[in-house]
């Protein structure tokens, strides 16, 4: 029996090797290295291992690369098809990215005119599968999202022999990149390079299917965790920074140098090169170990290096205390070339900031960008949501934590601007982004399906932040923080879905919040309450001898509150009387309007909806209150500014023309 079984097993094993192709753990496996993290054990389920050798030609902004990708089939089923992202091909005139960017706008440059310098290319020169031969001729471009045949951002290969469950496959890919002058995120500007999304990158097997979307004007990225070993060869004059830890830096006889980097438990790799960088090295003592901070500044911004390092450390500190530990050994902050459209971007352990040489101290835009991009180390880097389909889960949740952190660092009303008496807070800024596009798109939507780039930005960033800030008002600030911490700790190094997040909040708060999520996350309902009318009249108004006397005359006061739009939300209302008395009401908002009546020896002074300013989602804050007496001082103040500007312009016109 045993002999028969053994024989059968040998036959099955032999045939499965033939059917499933190479499954050779000796030659192909994912390394269990931990040299780039402050942990003795790997932190993620490592699906991929990229080993890349890249030579960059700074003159032509091109790169020749050799990539060995080891993929671990953890899908539980045999895989014979593998899709790969070739993101740089998005920067071609007929590609979907350019088409959408032209139509709807982009985060950076306007595309009024196409120029050859914008051309990007990620060309596979050869494609070999270990044990299955050269499959270059089998590669096929696919367009799963829009069928645009001119879009070459996803390529697919069909393997003759499937990869069995728990098997490994190794791809050996030779490729050539042509970097564009940066239109968004990646490319060159003058002698600067930011190499992002620059190598063929396998899709993610997610919920029983490959998830490998085309590159769109609004979308970002999605990839599996793994290990990266990358060699970059550049001219010796270049100063280089990259994802992960630097392993070696060797000068070559031909005037180039080769830098080697290693990254653990990450899902992307980016690097930058410029002859001009000045580097500030710093360290943050994290809860899992020290984090080496490299702040790579443009020479003209060197005076702001400390400013960048300071906000980076403050942000790290807040994230560690509020959400969870930062486990990586490095964090590189890059201040990219001005005008490069590469600022404000996140990659694992590598972020880009944005500033100018004249940046005043009271304008906290560098702080905003650094905080935001660092936040992505958590909401994208570790909690690796699908940025194509759930952009709100990285950008939106990150915008929410950005408000919290910046409020804590720089004050709620001054976290963006506090200069020359003018102030602006991040909280209001996020809300402002949303209210202009409030009814156009839901939050839960594929990122490339938004009405416009403004709508994508306003909803994904602004609305999500406002929804979560409003949620704080429902479940309490402490509970919300606890929910965020739980969500991070539970889903770090995984790919959670929107329901994973929403259910975590419900679980931690112990509340059924579907009524809210259905409207705020899944719906396009607009929240807008107003004080529709107020009225305060003496009860004895009809009597001939009647005379009003403060404190003695009895008034009947009425207040009408109106739900103007379709978002139903319970609200608090504060009614104030001229004797100082305050009355609080709570309305569930179910009906279209409600009236509150009072009979008191005091006249109505003011009515205010949401007196504690907990509802960030209300589209119009001006109609949330009504005072009995008009106060024209704000208008006079603004009109004074307006008059001043008009006078000045009139004088300037007359000064030069007559």
């Amino acid at each position: 029996m045993f002999a028969k079984c053994s024989f059968l097993l040998i036959v099955i094993a032999a045939s499965s090797l033939q059917v499933f192709g190479q499954a050779a753990p000796n030659t192909a496996a994912i390394p269990a290295t931990t040299s780039a993290i402050n942990s003795a054990q790997p932190l993620s389920q490592r699906i991929v291992a990229y080993d890349i050798d890249a030579k960059y030609d700074a003159k032509s902004h091109s790169l020749d690369g050799a990539e060995t990708l080891t993929y671990h089939n953890t899908t539980g089923q045999p895989l014979d098809t593998f899709p790969f992202h070739l993101y740089l091909n998005g920067f071609q005139p007929k590609a979907t990215w350019v088409r959408e960017a032209k139509q709807n706008g982009t985060r950076d440059e306007t595309l009024d005119k196409w120029e050859t310098k914008y051309y990007g290319l990620d060309e596979i020169k050869s494609f070999e599968v270990l044990g299955q031969g050269d499959l270059t001729s089998q590669l096929q471009f696919i367009q799963p999202d829009d069928g645009n045949k001119d879009d070459h951002t996803v390529v697919q290969v069909h393997l003759p022999k499937p990869i069995p469950p728990n098997g490994f496959v190794q791809f050996k890919i030779k490729f050539r990149d042509q970097f564009p002058e940066t239109l968004a995120r990646t490319g060159w500007k003058r002698d600067f390079l930011l190499a992002g999304q620059w190598f063929p990158k396998v899709g993610v097997w997610w919920h029983g299917a490959w998830n490998c979307h085309q590159f769109h004007g609004t979308t970002e990225f999605f990839a599996d965790f793994g290990v990266y070993d990358v060699k970059v060869t550049v001219p010796q004059t270049e100063v280089v920074g990259a994802t992960g830890v630097e392993v070696s830096n060797i000068n070559n006889p031909d005037g180039t140098k080769t830098l080697t980097y290693h990254g653990d438990d990450i899902h992307d790799f980016a690097w930058t090169a410029s002859p001009h960088y000045k580097i500030l090295e710093d360290e943050f003592q994290g809860s899992m170990g020290p984090v080496k901070l490299n702040v790579m500044m443009q020479p003209a911004h060197w005076s702001q290096a400390e400013r960048h390092a300071r906000v980076l450390k403050e942000t790290l500190d807040h994230f560690e205390r509020w959400y969870g530990p930062y486990p990586y050994k490095t964090l590189t902050l890059v201040d990219p070339e001005v005008g490069s459209a590469a600022g404000g971007m996140e990659y694992p352990t590598f972020i880009t900031g944005e500033t100018n040489w004249w940046m005043p101290g009271g304008l906290l835009l560098p702080e905003l960008v650094v905080e935001h991009e660092f936040g992505h180390q958590y909401w994208y880097g570790m909690v690796a949501t699908n940025e194509f389909e759930d952009a709100w889960m990285d950008e939106g949740i990150n915008s929410y934590t950005e408000v919290q952190v910046l409020d804590s660092i720089a004050g709620p009303n001054t976290s963006i601007l506090n200069q020359w008496g003018i102030t602006a807070g991040e909280r209001e800024l996020q809300r402002q982004g949303y209210i202009g596009v409030a009814d156009l798109d839901p939050i839960a939507q594929d990122a490339w399906k938004y009405f416009s780039f403004n709508s994508y930005g306003g909803i994904t960033y602004g609305k999500t932040a406002s929804v979560l800030l409003t949620l704080e008002g429902i479940i309490g600030e402490d509970t919300m923080q606890k929910a965020m911490h739980t969500y991070f700790m539970r889903y770090r190094f995984t790919h959670p879905t929107k329901e994973d997040f929403l259910k975590t909040v419900e679980e931690v708060s112990g509340k059924d919040l579907r009524w809210y999520f259905n409207q705020a996350i899944y719906g396009t309902q607009v929240l807008n309450y107003e004080v529709l009318r107020t009225d305060s009249s003496p009860v004895d108004w009809y009597k001939k001898e009647f005379k009003e006397k403060k404190g003695e005359t009895e008034y009947e006061s009425n207040v009408w509150i109106h739900r103007k739009d379709d978002f139903i939300f319970p609200i608090d209302i504060e009614v104030k009387f001229d004797n100082g008395e305050k009355v609080r009401e709570r309305w569930n908002g179910q009906s279209r309007w409600i009236r509150y009546s009072y009979q008191k020896k005091a006249k109505l002074e003011s009515v205010e909806i949401d007196p504690d300013s907990k509802i960030l989602l209300d589209r119009n804050n001006f109609n949330n209150s009504h005072t009995d007496k008009a106060n024209s001082a704000p208008v006079r103040k603004l009109a004074n500014y307006w008059t001043f500007i008009t006078q000045f312009l009139a004088q300037m016109l007359a000064w030069w023309m007559v």
Binding site: E428, N621, F622, N623, A630, V635, A650, Q651, W656
Partner: protein, 313 residues
Amino acid sequence: MSEKKSLLSAGAKIAGRNKRYVIWFYLLNLTLASFGAAAFRNQAHAILDHSLYADKLLHGFHLIVLLELLARPDFGPTNASTMPAFYFALLFFLATMLFLPGVLLGYASDHRLPRYEFYRTCGQNIWRFVRLFLFFVIIAGPITGILGAAKNALAKAADQTSNERLPFFTQLVCLIIIFLVLTAIRIWFDLAQTRVVIRDEGKVRKSIAAAYRSMKHQRVRLLGSYVLIAFLAVIALIVGIWIWIKIVPAASVLGAFIVGQVILLVWLAARFWQRACAVAFYLEYENETPVETLSVPETVAPIMPGAQPSPAV
């Protein structure tokens, strides 16, 4: 330096003696701008007067709240308030063109100009000033265009380098050059206007040519005076705005109004000072050079040493 000083002080004396013109123009400027701001005021009243949220605009200046106000559909389109402001600014420009001849004659007089004389001069020079304006546009327009294009080209070239400050300073230097060139053209036409009014010169081209000749001889002195006055005006503007921001309480509408208006009054006075310098220069220059055979209005005679009274106007 002493010459420049004397021109500045001569101009200051003339402008100081005729303060009323600055005051009248200032009042006109304020009145028109108030009309120009009326639409904005009306749009804002309906939203802000009974709203507690408006308090954020009074006690401090919350930029986002202002943007939210301007974006409100019930506030109306922003051009509903910007266009009236533009129209009233244009009206002030036209009013300046209309009344400037009277001012120049007043500056050239050693006595207070009778009202009828002021208006008569204004009326008499309307078409001449329109023509001067057209000539100014014909000359200054292309020059500004060429200089602007050169500025853009240089800035673009500077942008190719990695020196981030270079494009900015290139633009700054170019703007200073444009400012100086335009100031020189302005001086030229200020002198031409002065000549047209004082000589009652109907042929404006002749005045433009003569003004060019006179300016050419002492361009550094004139340019120096104009630039110095403009520099003082900019300093006054900066100091005024600093006081506005740092000293005036955010909620003090009256305080902000007073500071703002003082700035504008000083700014306007600076321009009138420049014009007074042009008049002083013209009078001095004409004294030193042979007087052309041109008729001069009777009313102007007392301030024209050496000039012959005209037989009839």
